[in-house]
Structures are given as structure tokens and as C-alpha cells.
Amino acid sequence: MKPRLNFEWLHGCSGCEIALLNSGELLFSLFQLVDIVHFPLLMDHKYIADPGEEGDLSLPEADIGLVTGGVGLASHLKILTAMRRQCRVLIAVGTCAGHGGIPAMRNQWTAGQTMETVFSTATTDTAPVPDGVPALLDRVSSIDEQVRVDVCLPGCPPRPEMIIAVLEALIQREEQRLPHKSVCETCPTVRTGKGQATIHRGTVRAAYTPGEPLDRMRCLLEQGLLCMGPVTAGGCGGRDVPLCLRSRVSCRGCYGPVRKYGNQLLDMMNALASNGIDYRTIIDRTSLLRFSGAHGRLRPKGERK
């Protein structure tokens, strides 16, 4: 019998799911590999056991649970707890599930501040903020802050072949081989170790000769562009060129830190300062944590502990 799979999404954007749906033949191999028993994007299994009735959240038992997105609402916690309970192995899929992702940027404000701002834009009618909805949690957390997670597979979105590979390894009981190097690993740009003394504003574009391959272009960081490659987990381009670099645009860190407890902001600032680069030219340093603001890394501005 094929292993059963639950696939849930929480505080994310569905990019992870779409990446999987985009994967062509790989999608079929997923269908071959497992029996999907719960997957709100693709199938109509509901939380409520008895259709149409109020009741406890019910999820089927499964061998493997995939969760995308972090935890941002009270309802997410409920779903996540049920997933953990019902799934033998729980996999955090995507950067949001693993590190909070973009939604965790809101951790720099309280839930109240966020509600206030969102419901008072110029075109919004004056009205009390919604209260008949699952409550916004004060902080967006990664799922491993809330429940035990067996495998963490980052990416924004993750590469589908990695998802499949993780599942295959799991089913075959092999050791997980996740990428553990940074974006630079497969970046072909020319590095010399010598860079600019300052970091340019994000509006400055890479210098290169159009038509020349990437391996003739100078490393973007060495060009003085803020490229988060060195502090960001690699794998976005598979074994090939990192995706942003294909557009000659620098990495912004969407796979999260290279090491689980790495800190993309601190690691980057440190690497720059150690090389004598003036990191203070960088505006809004905290946006370097835009993909990994969970685990208490981003906190409301002005909070000091």
C-alpha cells in the first residue's frame, strides 16, 4: 500500500503548492508515490468530519504530512496541531514553514498595529476591524516553534524535485540529503575575494556585457550589490545557476539561512564588516531578515530585551 499523505497550508501564499503543480512529470510521480488523502488546494476533503456539521477538526491519519506556511492565526495552530497528531512524519515545506518567510515581516509590529493599518487605508470605509474571524497571533512563527518537525525543506518556493526526493528518501528510509551549502555554491560568477568598499542601493543594477555568459560576470556582491547568496541556503536552481542570478539580479535570501540557527542579517553584516565594507550604507537592515523573521528574530520595533 502506498503511504498516505496530508498536505496542508497555513500562513503562506500557495507558491509551494503551485511549484509542485508546475513540476510536470514530477507531479505524476508524486501521485504515483503516495496516496494524497487531504490537500485543500486540489481535493475536497474538509476539516469537519460530518459534512455541514460543526465539530472537531478532523484530518485523516497519514504517514507523511506536508505543511507549508508559518503560523499566523489561531486557526493555523489548530490545524498544525491536528497535522502533527495525525501524521507520523511531519515535513515543513517552504521557507514560511521553516523560518516564517515574508509573512513574518509583520513581527516587527504587533497584531493590533497590523490590523489598524490594514483596515484604515485611504480607500477603506471607517469600520471596526473584523472580530468574527480566527484571531491574528501576535507573532508569526515557523511551525517548528510550535510542534516537532521531522524534516525542514526550505524554499520560496522549494524545488519540486527536492520535495519528491525527500519523500522518496523517507519512503525508502534513506538518509535525507538536503542542500547544506549557500547560493554561492552553484553561482558561476567571477569571484576574486576583493570587493567594493560600500554597498549600493538596490536600484543599482549589475554590470555585465549583454550576451556574455554568467561566468564572465563579476560576483554581484563584489560589484557592491547586496547579494544575500553567501548567507542563504542554496538549491533554488537545483544543481544549476541560482534563479535570481539567471536574471542578473542579486539574491535576497528566500531559502532562509544556510544553517538552521543562522541569522541572515547578522551573518551578512558580519561578512561585510569583516571585509571592511561599510554596511551602514544599507537602508533598513531588518529587511535582510525578510525570509527568516520567525524564531524571535524579528520583533516589534523599539522592543529591547
Partner: protein, 449 residues
């Protein structure tokens, strides 16, 4: 006995939502609504960020249509910094957008919506899905998957990252397209166009003909429509004038900069999603299904309704045939699917047009940008409706204020009406089986929310 039925989650849509139907003692529907149960707060957390970073952040509003947010934001920040891209930059952006549309439409129609039609709304939930489709229509499924992959590959070919893109940059596009790419993409575009036409033919023959009744009745309401057209009144996705049609068919056009005079957002305590309504009609908003006010719809059917014609031949041909059958405006909710396939044809034709424009391979793809204070509004027609991003920046070029009106929100209010209409029609005596509930969901699914 009063009773409430909750459908949670609404499945085969993107995002978190639930349907709540209240029944009175007699088992009649007393209220029905779609509750959007997620909020991430982008308008809050983009504050203070360097504006040029915004296009790389707001993509995460939606993993299905990141390109739309990317481009709306990049256009808005162009406005903040007072730049406009060189011709190649604009062409490449639009090419990316139409390819993303193609990709999205195939996904929605075949993966999310089609199971209801191909396998039937009454079929068991465990087979009424794409996996079921793969089993019952393996060749079609394989072709669909290949075509989506092709559209994706085309996008990646010149724009790198396809989901959560990075190639749109303030002032233009990140890298030029070379002649080799142009040649290859033209060939691929042709394949897509063929597929689009075949898809529409397949749908007309296999689906729409079987569901004519549902197409006109399920969740059917009468509303206004919002879309984008060019000066000639032709359908536009990337840019143009906004055109608002009132329920009676009256048209008003306005530039996007004036959107706040025409549109406003309404808040209900049971939904995180705000409901956009037509402020310019001066009647406020009412969700009362017997006497709705201020409500219009966006997305495919809306665009098909508001435009006078489509500037590409095959889509125009299909538009004419569609209007022949359903008139203008067409109000049937499930007609959104039909309109979606007409747009798919248009998007494929537009792809070929853009690639045929020799300026698309010019090496100058972006202009130099100086960050500074300003205000900018960017808009594109996203698959799910008209998408608006507005930002203001300070002297340092950092965001001070943001207002986002996302495609789906235009349709949140009409969805309420549709669900109520469907519930009223389908639930009698409090009896609601799985098929009935799925049919109610189908009314939501048509909007591809």
C-alpha cells in the same frame, strides 16, 4: 431548530476561506456568506522598506499570480521614483504578464475547476480532483501538464525565476532578451496558441454544452463589471484605462490614478477580506441579495463584458461567438470559465505579437533610477481581477504608505450574493448533502479566488 452549516475549507481555491450558511427553524437559508479567514498585513510590513525592494516582497501575496503583484508594484514604484522603462523593458514586462496569465488559466481551468465538470459535481470527493482527472483522462492531463510546463519554461527562459519573480526592476526589466530566445519563444508561443484554441474547443464540446443550464443559473446574480481597455476599447491586461460598467450596461472610463474616486472598500466583521464597491455610483454597498447595491465584478467575465472588442483575431472571433450566445453583459457566474478560455486565447496571441515586436530584443532594458520621495500607482489586470498597488515614498525612497486592492477582493461582495443565491436554490428543508455543498462551492470556484 436553527442550524449553521460550515464548509471549511473551501477547496480547490487558492487561499483560506470558508462558507457559512445559517438555516432558520424551518431549514430555510437565513444567511450565507463566504468568510476569508486569512490576513498577512502586507500594507503594514512594507512600511519603511526601500521601495525598490517592494516588487520582490509583494509577490508573496499570492503564489499563483506573483507576476501580477510584481508588475503592479514595479509600475507603482516607477511612479514613486518618476521613471518610465525603455520600450524593451515594457515589452518584456508585458510578455511575462501574458505568459503568467496563460499558465494561470490552464491551472485554474484544468486542475481546479475541471474536475467538477469532467467528473461531475456529484462524484465522490476522493476522485473529484486532478488526481481523478489524471486517472480518467490521462492523455488530456498529460498534455495539460506539459503545456503548463511549457508556459513556465518560456517565462523562466527570459525572466529567471517564475514563481516569485525578480526580473521586473524599477525602471525597466533586469536583463535583455537575445535573438535566440526570441526565436525559440516564438515557436513555443505558437504551440501554446494551438493548445489554447483546442482547449476552448474541447471545453465547448465536452463541458459547456453539458452544463448550459448551470452556467446561466448557478450563483447567477446581476452586477456591474470592472476591467481595463485601451483607447479603442480593446481588452488590455497590462495597462490601459479602467472601465466600470454599471448593472444596466452603462460605461465610465477613468485613469488608474483616480481609482479612489470610483472605488471604496467595505469591512465586515466576519471576513478579513475587504469588499470593494463602486463608490462612484453613490449608493454605498449592500450585500442584501434581494437589493444589492454598489456591487460589481472583476476577473475574466468582467473584462470580456467591458471591452468593446479584442485586438487579436482568434480571441475576437470567440468573443463574438460568446456574445452571440449570452449577450453583453453576460451575468452567468459559471460563464467565468468560458471567458477565461477566451482570455487564454488572447494571451497566447498577445504573446506572439509581443515577441514579433523587434524592439523586444533591444539591449536597453532599464533606465537609471534615483530613489526619492513620490507617490505611485500601478495596476494590471490579474487573472482574478483588477490589481492596484499604491505607494508613497519618503525622501530616502522608503515606503511610507501602501494601499493594495487585490483582484479577488472585487469579487468578494458578489461572491456573497452568489453563495446566497446558490444556497437558497439548492438547500431545501435543511437538507444539504455533499453534492449540494460542492455545487455551492462551485459558485465560489468560478471566481478563482
Amino acid at each position: 431548530m436553527k442550524r449553521a452549516i460550515t464548509i471549511e475549507p473551501i477547496t480547490r481555491i487558492e487561499g483560506h476561506a470558508r462558507i457559512r450558511i445559517d438555516l432558520d427553524e424551518s431549514g430555510r437559508v437565513s444567511d450565507a456568506r463566504v468568510e476569508i479567514t486569512a490576513l498577512r498585513g502586507f500594507e503594514q510590513f512594507v512600511i519603511g522598506r526601500p521601495a525598490e525592494e517592494i516588487p520582490r516582497i509583494v509577490t508573496r501575496i499570492c503564489g499563483i499570480c506573483p507576476w501580477m503583484h510584481h508588475l503592479a508594484a514595479v509600475k507603482a514604484i516607477d511612479g514613486c521614483f518618476g521613471v518610465s522603462p525603455p520600450p524593451a523593458g515594457n515589452l518584456l514586462r508585458e510578455l511575462a504578464q501574458v505568459l503568467a496569465h496563460i499558465h494561470d488559466k490552464i491551472l485554474h481551468f484544468f486542475f481546479l475547476a475541471a474536475p467538477d465538470f469532467v467528473l461531475g459535481p456529484e462524484s465522490d470527493y476522493s476522485v473529484r480532483n486532478v488526481m481523478g482527472l489524471v486517472r480518467s483522462e490521462p492523455e488530456l492531463a498529460a498534455r495539460v501538464v506539459r503545456m503548463r510546463q511549457l508556459a513556465l519554461a518560456m517565462l523562466e527562459r527570459f525572466a529567471g525565476k517564475a514563481i516569485h519573480p525578480v526580473a521586473g526592476v524599477v525602471g525597466g526589466f533586469a536583463r535583455p532578451m537575445d535573438a535566440g530566445e526570441q526565436r525559440d519563444l516564438l515557436a513555443d508561443g505558437q504551440v501554446l496558441l494551438d493548445f489554447a484554441c483546442q482547449s476552448l474547443a474541447f471545453a465547448k464540446e465536452r463541458i459547456f454544452s453539458r452544463f448550459v443550464e448551470e452556467m446561466l443559473s448557478l450563483g447567477s446574480v446581476t452586477t456591474g463589471f470592472l476591467g481595463t481597455v485601451d483607447a479603442q476599447g480593446s481588452l488590455r491586461l497590462y495597462d490601459g484605462l479602467l472601465r466600470l460598467m454599471d448593472p444596466g450596461g452603462g460605461l465610465v472610463e477613468f485613469p488608474v490614478e483616480e481609482y479612489d474616486q470610483f472605488l471604496a472598500e467595505h469591512v465586515e466583521p466576519w471576513s478579513y477580506a475587504k469588499m470593494v464597491y463602486a463608490r462612484s455610483w453613490g449608493e454605498g454597498i449592500s450585500l442584501d441579495s434581494s437589493q444589492p447595491r454598489g456591487i460589481y465584478r472583476a476577473n475574466t467575465l468582467a473584462r470580456i463584458n467591458v471591452c468593446d472588442h479584442i485586438a487579436t483575431p482568434r480571441a475576437q472571433e470567440e468573443l463574438e461567438a460568446f456574445r452571440e450566445l449570452f449577450g453583453r453583459p453576460a451575468q452567468g457566474t459559471l460563464l467565468y470559465h468560458w471567458a477565461r478560455l477566451i482570455e487564454l486565447v488572447y494571451a497566447c496571441e498577445r504573446t506572439l505579437e509581443l515577441l514579433a515586436d523587434e524592439r523586444i530584443v533591444e539591449p536597453l532594458v532599464h533606465h537609471v533610477v534615483e530613489p526619492g520621495a513620490g507617490r505611485g500607482i500601478g495596476h494590471v489586470e490579474a487573472p482574478r481581477g483588477t490589481l492596484l498597488h499604491e505607494y508613497a515614498t519618503d525622501g530616502n525612497g522608503c515606503i511610507t504608505r501602501a494601499n493594495l486592492i487585490v483582484g479577488t477582493t472585487h469579487n468578494v461582495a458578489p461572491m456573497q450574493l452568489c453563495v446566497r443565491q446558490a444556497a437558497d436554490r439548492l438547500i431545501g428543508n435543511g437538507a444539504a448533502d455533499e453534492e449540494i455543498l460542492n455545487r455551492i462551492e462551485m459558485a465560489v470556484r468560478a471566481y478563482d479566488p
